[in-house]
Structures are given as structure tokens and as C-alpha cells.
């Protein structure tokens, strides 16, 4: 059983558990977006906090596909709460990319894990990507639904170059998050006998 490349029931349950954990953490942190001023900083906060559950998740991953499934589930979730198809696509691509990195670099290696997690974080970009990619119709929608004042504040905080900065921040945040998660893993989880 250990040698097959197909995902077994145990793997799939692990996917469910860790996806649930990561999504809950992500969502709780995301509630901070109630204040648009915090928005740019979220690119760095999200990956760092989510690093803790994800590093624990990475200790269980030995097969291709688990991260992709997490990406798809996260994407469906964000599609339903209103980020549209770009959110779905972003999460899916992020999951796929991190899976490929793991596949090429090898499983259970710390450096590869850090890189792969940083790639996974790039997928988070799917959520705010609407602001730039969906164009004027989306902005018009925000203007009518949220009021001019909010839309203008958001627009001034989110110029188009912010997208590239966002990617960079997510990547750096991913690396930092992976390191933090690794530290926590050493400090708490190994002592508790979980890893």
C-alpha cells in the first residue's frame, strides 16, 4: 500500500483535515479585510499564519495530487463566497504548481517544502486578482454596491503595480511562514509526538 502512487483513503482524509484547518485560519485572518487599510499587509500576514498548519500538512504529503485537491477545495469555497472564477482558478493553479515543485524536488525535504509552500501562496493572489483582471465592470460593481467612497479608497490603495508587489510579498511571506511553521513544528508538535 505504501508504494502505490494512487491516493489512498487515509491520504484523502488527511487532505480534508488540513484543508479544513488552513481554510478556517485563512478565513479568520481574512476578516481583517473589513478595514481596507490592512489590505496590502494581508499579503504577508496570510502566508505567515497559514504556514503553521501547512507545514504540519507537508509532513504527511508523500504523493502527487494532495495539494492540488486542497487548491480545488479552497477555490470552490472562495468561488462560493464571491471571488468568482478567478479565485477558483488562482487557488487551483497555486495548488498544482506547488505539487509540481514537490514532485520534481522530492518529498519530505525541507528546502523543497519551503519553495513549494511559497508557490502555494502565490495562488492566494486569485482572491484579489479580480481588482485588476476583471476590469472596469468589476469596479463599477463595487462603486454601485459599496458606495463611491469605499471604492475610491480601495482604488487608491490598490494601483495596478500592486499586483506584482503582491506576488513578491506572497512569495516572501510564504518563505517566512514556512520557516515559522517549521519552528513551531520543532517546538511543539515533535514534542507532542504528532509528527
Amino acid at each position: 500500500m505504501e508504494n502505490t502512487n494512487k491516493l489512498t483513503g487515509k491520504d484523502l482524509i488527511n487532505v480534508g483535515i488540513y484543508s479544513a484547518m488552513t481554510l478556517v485560519v485563512f478565513f479568520v485572518v481574512g476578516l481583517l479585510t473589513a478595514l481596507p487599510v490592512v489590505y496590502p499587509f494581508l499579503f504577508i500576514i496570510w502566508p505567515i499564519v497559514c504556514g503553521i498548519p501547512m507545514m504540519l500538512y507537508y509532513t504527511k504529503i508523500r504523493k502527487f495530487g494532495m495539494l492540488t485537491i486542497t487548491g480545488i477545495i479552497g477555490g470552490i469555497f472562495f468561488y462560493l463566497i464571491g471571488y468568482g472564477w478567478i479565485g477558483l482558478l488562482g487557488w487551483f493553479l497555486g495548488g498544482l504548481l506547488s505539487d509540481i515543485v514537490l514532485r520534481i524536488g522530492g518529498y519530505q525535504k525541507f528546502k523543497v517544502t519551503v519553495l513549494s509552500y511559497a508557490c502555494f501562496c502565490l495562488g492566494i493572489m486569485g482572491c484579489p486578482a479580480n481588482l485588476w483582471l476583471a476590469g472596469d465592470a468589476y469596479w463599477e460593481n463595487i462603486h454601485t454596491s459599496m458606495g463611491d467612497q469605499y471604492a475610491n479608497t480601495l482604488q487608491s490603495l490598490m494601483p495596478s503595480w500592486m499586483m506584482y508587489v503582491g506576488f513578491a510579498l506572497l512569495f516572501v511571506g510564504g518563505i517566512l511562514g514556512a520557516l515559522l511553521g517549521h519552528k513551531m513544528l520543532k517546538k511543539h508538535f515533535e514534542r507532542a509526538g504528532i509528527v
Binding site: L7, T8, G9, K10, L12, I13, N14, V15, G16, I17, S19, A20, M21, L23, V24, V25, A34, L35, P36, V49, I52, P53, L56, G65, I69, T70, I72, I73, Y79, L80, I81, G82, G84, E140, N141, T144, S145, M146, G147, Q149, Y150, T153, M184, H188, F189, A192, I194
Partner: protein, 243 residues
Amino acid sequence: MEQLQAVVETRSGYRLDPRTKLFLMAVVATAEFLYSHTAFMVAVALIPFVLLLTNRQYKTAIIFFCLFSAGLFVQAIQNSIQFHMVVNMLVVLLVGLVLRLFPAFVMGAYIIKSTTASECITALGRMHIGRQITIPLSVLFRFIPTMQEESAAIKDAMRMREVQFGTKKFWQNPAALIEYRFIPLMISVVKIGDDLSAAALTRGLDNPVRRTNITKVGFTGWDLITVLIAGTALIITYFFSPW
């Protein structure tokens, strides 16, 4: 856990196929983000509201109704009042949240409450969605309530040590909140997860044979009626709205 019961008594009366529910969910989630008039938004919100009533979730339905009406009211008077910038931002965001996102949230509450796990898995299987998606999804829904319970228990335990939001000790070291609240939660969730996978494996989760099911899943006249009513309501309000 009511949702995990294997055997479902054959309920008569109004009930929908899980696929219809998912379809309506997708419709609601998409429709919320179309630019539209008030009538259309009300029509979108009515779908989950009526469904909640049919499932006897009166409490959720009433809360949803009150919040949604309050949201509509604030939106109506919003442009005549100028708030301070920060207040305006909060108000606008809350109203947007209630009007745009709550229909989908409430729809989700309805689906989770009215669908048993085996009904859901059978229906997804009929849609040719593999177990790679269905198993993680059902585990996910099984775990979110567990995480809430565990989190509440840990919160109570940590209150004794003054590890909670807002105390003097918290401001001395805010990161401790993460370490003392979040890490124990993860540890207990992982333990519960291990138990869960052991239980599922002994019950033959890994069996390669196709899963059989005694739950009856199928489209009935109710599905047709519901989709027709919802569809006409949405189309009429979208294209021929008086406002």
C-alpha cells in the same frame, strides 16, 4: 451527528435532490454579484429564505430576514447621509456583506442541515465527481463543527491563565495568543483526524469496489417546480424590474 447517519428514513413531502440544491447554490452565488436593482436582490434572497422555511429552520430564517431587511434599509438611506470616512467604510462593508454574501451563506446552512452525508456523496458520485474530491469534502464538513467545539474548550481553559484577547498579559505578548490558542487546537484536531481515519478504514473506505448506498437519491417533481419558480422569479426581476 445527524449528518453522518447511514440510514435515512424515507421522508415524504417536500425535499430536493442534492444536485438541485447545489445548482441553486451556484445560481445564488453567481446572481449575487450581478449588478442589479433591489427587486432582483430580494428575489435572490428569497430562494434560501423559502428553502429554510421548508426545512423548518425558522430561527435561521428569521435572523436572515431581519439582517437582510436592515441591510436594505441602510442602503436606501445611505446616500442621503454622509458618515465619517472610517465609519462609512465599516457601514458600507457590513451592508455589502449582508446583502451580497448572506444569501449564499444561508443557502450553505440550509444545504448542510438538510442533506445527509451519504445523500451528498451519492449525488456527487452520480455527477461523476471522483472520491478524490468527495472524501476530503465530507471530512471538511465533518471537521468545521468539531473545530468550533475544540476551540471553545481551549478558550475556556486559557481564560484561567489570562490568555485571551484584550487582557494586560495579551498586550505584553500578542504572539502568545497564536501559540496558546492555535497550536493546541491543531494538536487536538490532528488527533481526532487520526481516530477518524482509523475508523473509516476499518469500515472499508479503501475498498476499490464501487460504493453502494441504500439512500434514495433522484429528481422528483419538487425539483422541477422549485427550479421553475426560482428561475422565473429571477428572470422577471432581472429584466422587467419596475425600479
